[in-house]
């Protein structure tokens, strides 16, 4: 029996679409509260956010928050996902039944371009005019009733930040009937025949609904070099054949078909905007006044330096307390487990493998949270775009653009949040290059290694301040120089593409919404724990196994056990490889154990040279370790840690990829195993070559 009123079995699916910086996330959070699921679109690293909202009658509605886009003619993976979901090209996401377009009212003309493309899709659209207060302040008067009449769809003025308009929006979403737009728009004569032919083919060969076929036909004309992302259904052969035919014909005639199409859309938008928007010119806005200082040739640099200094200071000072706390509690939890279980393999697996592994995941969290707090603040206030504007010239020297600056700089603290922050880079190749070089920036985990080596390098107990500063600066300089050199190289060889561009909106400054920033921060941290965490845990257990087996006979010291283990044997096995760069098998064990985290080199070296407990963090006393290193000898009696070898070890740590957490994050962010493996090979290879050169040249010079 067919019901007289067809009730949708599954909840209605709404897509939330808008330009970047239009307040879309705030509206999404307001609509769905905390009922959201954050993940990835399969096959691409684009964030997928789906939430549930409830209608006036309590019916559940699914809301998909699509990535910000300026146009459906995609230029970035983010925009490609938005396009493909709206066109029903992705099998992993339902095609939305209805679309909510959100626009920045103070920027209506440009925002209506995307809306105009979306109206073509032939699905019910609700238009949300956000930031009405800002528009009013900038001198705009919008006649919303007129806009509603012109477009024939519900138009809702709102201020997502204060929640104004939310009830009206939910009322509109609850309507069982939503009108289709009656905005009439003529396809320009020069391209109309092509659109008709493509539309027919899309309907016949690609099973598209008639209106959707027209929209897709129009889109194909501007989407010349379509960003095809994985998960998207390709076009049928006959349709792409027709498209190619027309393009060849137009090229011969000299018709710029894409330009004609964009122009005719803006002509239609201009007519609507002329009826709807009135502007009383006002004086310079707050944004103009702030920008005059923030992008000033002198003040701009001072502010940028101050902001970055504040970020780093916060990371190094604030993160220390929770990190020590986590370290301490993980350690005492391990002790508790150790004391409550009987000795054996299971106990060691739990304490030295699993608990230590969980600890090494958790210990990154404070840094990640703090860095993402700042990145969220910089992004939501609008400062991020200004930093990119200021730094673009420098980054363009190596073929990147200004957007890569913040992720690379963040990597000085820790490459993990730096790499996770590359999602703000639109261009897929620029993003990958930034990910590949970010771990070359000397992160804070290298500091303990540098400090130990500097202490071992100089004679006497006290390291002269200038030597310390000089060597440190040399190491940071080497890493930074290496990062830029490899970025330059990769952009020219491996990841050659269209020259990067810097077409970027400088949005008006906003006060940050702390709730949104906090939510984003927690989401990112959770993503790290859930995805990278599992890999890190697995590798920690493997590393534990390698250092604990095979077991030495009863009564062996920790030093003997380590020498006896797989890790010890591996140290011996790689000795022929590392002898030319000045290291023996004991250093080899340190290098291998560093894979858990670089600073582990210090503690494992202490075990190898049987120094005993040297403490951790601030209480660490490296004096006995330094003495042991100075006494260490090759079998033939030569000193092992000569000043040259100490320097070599530092150079090796600058370049080598020795951080499994970074590997895990790169695997997730590039969605492949190939790139993290390539990264291990190229970085560690460079480390070997650079160290080889330093060692051999140093030897030849008599050091």
């Amino acid at each position: 029996m067919a019901p007289s009123h067809p009730v949708p079995a599954a909840p209605r699916v709404y897509a939330l679409v808008g330009n970047p910086n239009c307040g879309k996330s705030t509206l999404f959070n307001a609509l769905t509260g905390l009922k959201q699921k954050v993940g990835n679109y399969p096959g691409v690293t684009v964030e997928k956010k789906v939430g549930t909202s409830y209608s006036q009658h309590g019916q559940a509605m699914t809301v998909i928050d699509l990535p910000g886009a300026y146009s459906l003619a995609a230029r970035s993976p983010d925009e490609a996902v938005t396009r493909d979901v709206l066109l029903g090209r992705r099998s992993d996401t339902p095609m939305p039944d209805r679309i909510i377009c959100i626009v920045d009212s103070s920027n209506l003309e440009r925002s209506l371009y995307l809306v105009h493309q979306i109206l073509d899709l032939g699905r019910p659209v609700i238009l949300v005019l956000n930031m009405m207060d800002i528009a009013a302040k900038s001198g705009f008067t919008l006649r919303t009733a007129r806009l509603e009449k012109e477009l024939g769809i519900p138009v809702i003025p709102s201020e997502a930040v204060s929640g104004k308009g939310l009830i009206d929006l939910k009322l509109a979403m609850s309507r069982p009937d939503l009108p289709l737009s009656r905005h009439a728009w003529d396809v320009p004569a020069a391209i109309a025949p092509a659109v008709a032919e493509l539309q027919a083919s899309l309907a016949d060969n690609d099973n598209k609904a008639p209106l959707c076929a027209r929209a897709e036909a129009l889109l194909l004309l501007t989407d010349q070099d379509a960003v095809r992302v994985s998960g998207s259904t390709p076009l049928s052969e006959s349709t792409s054949g027709i498209l190619k035919g027309w393009q060849q014909r137009w090229e011969k005639e000299g018709t710029d078909w894409a330009a004609i199409l964009v122009q005719s859309r803006y002509d239609a938008i201009g007519k609507v905007a002329g009826e709807v928007v009135q502007r009383i010119p006002s004086g310079p806005t707050a944004t103009d006044r702030i920008d005059a200082i923030v992008t000033h040739p002198v003040w701009g640099w001072i502010i940028l330096a101050a902001v970055m200094a504040l970020v780093f200071l916060s990371i190094f000072t604030l993160a220390e307390y929770p990190m020590d706390w986590i370290d301490h509690h993980v350690a005492s939890f391990g002790d508790w487990v150790r004391s409550s279980l009987s000795p054996g393999d299971l106990r060691n697996l739990l304490t030295d493998g699993a608990i230590a592994g969980v600890g090494s995941i958790l210990v990154f969290l404070p840094q990640i949270l703090i860095l993402f707090l700042f990145i969220g603040l910089l992004e939501s206030t609008g400062y991020m775009a200004r930093a990119a504007f200021i730094m673009d010239r420098l980054m363009s020297r190596v073929g990147l653009n200004g957007r890569s600056f913040i992720p690379m700089l963040s990597s000085y603290a820790c490459a993990i949040p730096g790499i996770m922050a590359t999602r703000t880079i639109e261009d897929a190749k620029d993003r990958l290059v930034t990910i590949l070089v970010a771990p070359l920036m000397s992160c804070s985990a290298r500091l303990p290694v540098y400090l130990l080596m500097i202490a071992a390098l100089v004679p006497g107990d006290r390291v002269p301040l200038m030597t310390k500063v000089g060597l440190m600066m040399l190491m940071y300089g080497l890493g930074t120089g290496g990062a830029f050199a490899f970025a330059w190289l990769f952009k020219r060889t491996l990841l050659k593409g269209a020259p990067s561009m810097m077409i970027m909106e400088l949005p008006p400054y906003h006060l940050p919404r702390l709730k949104d920033v906090a939510l984003h921060m927690v989401e990112r941290a959770w993503v790290f724990v859930r995805n990278a965490g599992t890999v890190i845990l697995a590798i920690s257990i493997v590393l534990w196994f390698l250092s604990a087996y095979p077991q030495a006979p009863q009564g062996a010291t920790p030093q003997e056990q380590l020498a006896h283990s797989f890790a010890g044997r591996a140290g011996h096995a790689i000795e022929p490889l590392i002898k030319p760069i000045g290291f023996d098998w004991r250093v080899g064990i340190g290098l291998i154990s560093s894979f858990a985290a670089r600073e582990v080199f210090v503690s494992s070296t202490a075990v190898v040279f049987s120094v005993g407990d040297i403490g951790e963090g601030k209480e660490m006393n490296i004096a006995p370790l330094r003495a042991a290193l100075r006494d260490a000898r090759w079998p033939d009696g030569r000193a092992l840690f000569t000043p040259l070898v100490c320097l070599c070890l530092m150079v090796f740590y600058v370049f080598a990829m020795q951080c499994m957490s970074t590997v895990a994050v790169v695997r997730r962010e590039t969605n492949s195993l190939r790139w993290p493996l390539f990264q291990i090979v190229y970085m560690t290879g460079t480390a070997w070559v650079a160290t080889f050169v330093v060692y051999q040249v140093g030897r030849a010079l008599g050091f």
Binding site: E109, S138, R393, I503
Partner: protein, 80 residues
């Protein structure tokens, strides 16, 4: 249009306004600029040049946009 009034977008000085006249070049960057509302007939104002001399910031249709000089030098404008 006098010869003097015609210029490249990259040649404008800060604070100068102009109307876009022609785009002699096609390509992904220029298509995106069009989609962002920078079209022949649109009026633009050069807001500033970045501290290191590139990119430039323009105001178009009421919002601010950056682009590099390498793109701006292909855009012909008429000073007003």
């Amino acid at each position: 249009m006098s010869v003097q009034a015609e210029a490249k977008l990259s040649e404008l000085s800060a604070g100068a306004s102009a109307i876009i006249r022609a785009y002699p070049k096609a390509g992904a960057a220029f298509l995106r600029l069009r989609e962002m509302g920078v079209l022949p007939g649109t009026s633009v104002k050069l807001i500033r040049t970045a501290p290191l001399g590139d990119p430039i910031e323009i105001n178009v249709r009421g919002y601010n946009l950056t682009l590099r000089k390498s793109e701006a030098e292909h855009i012909v404008v008429e000073r007003i």
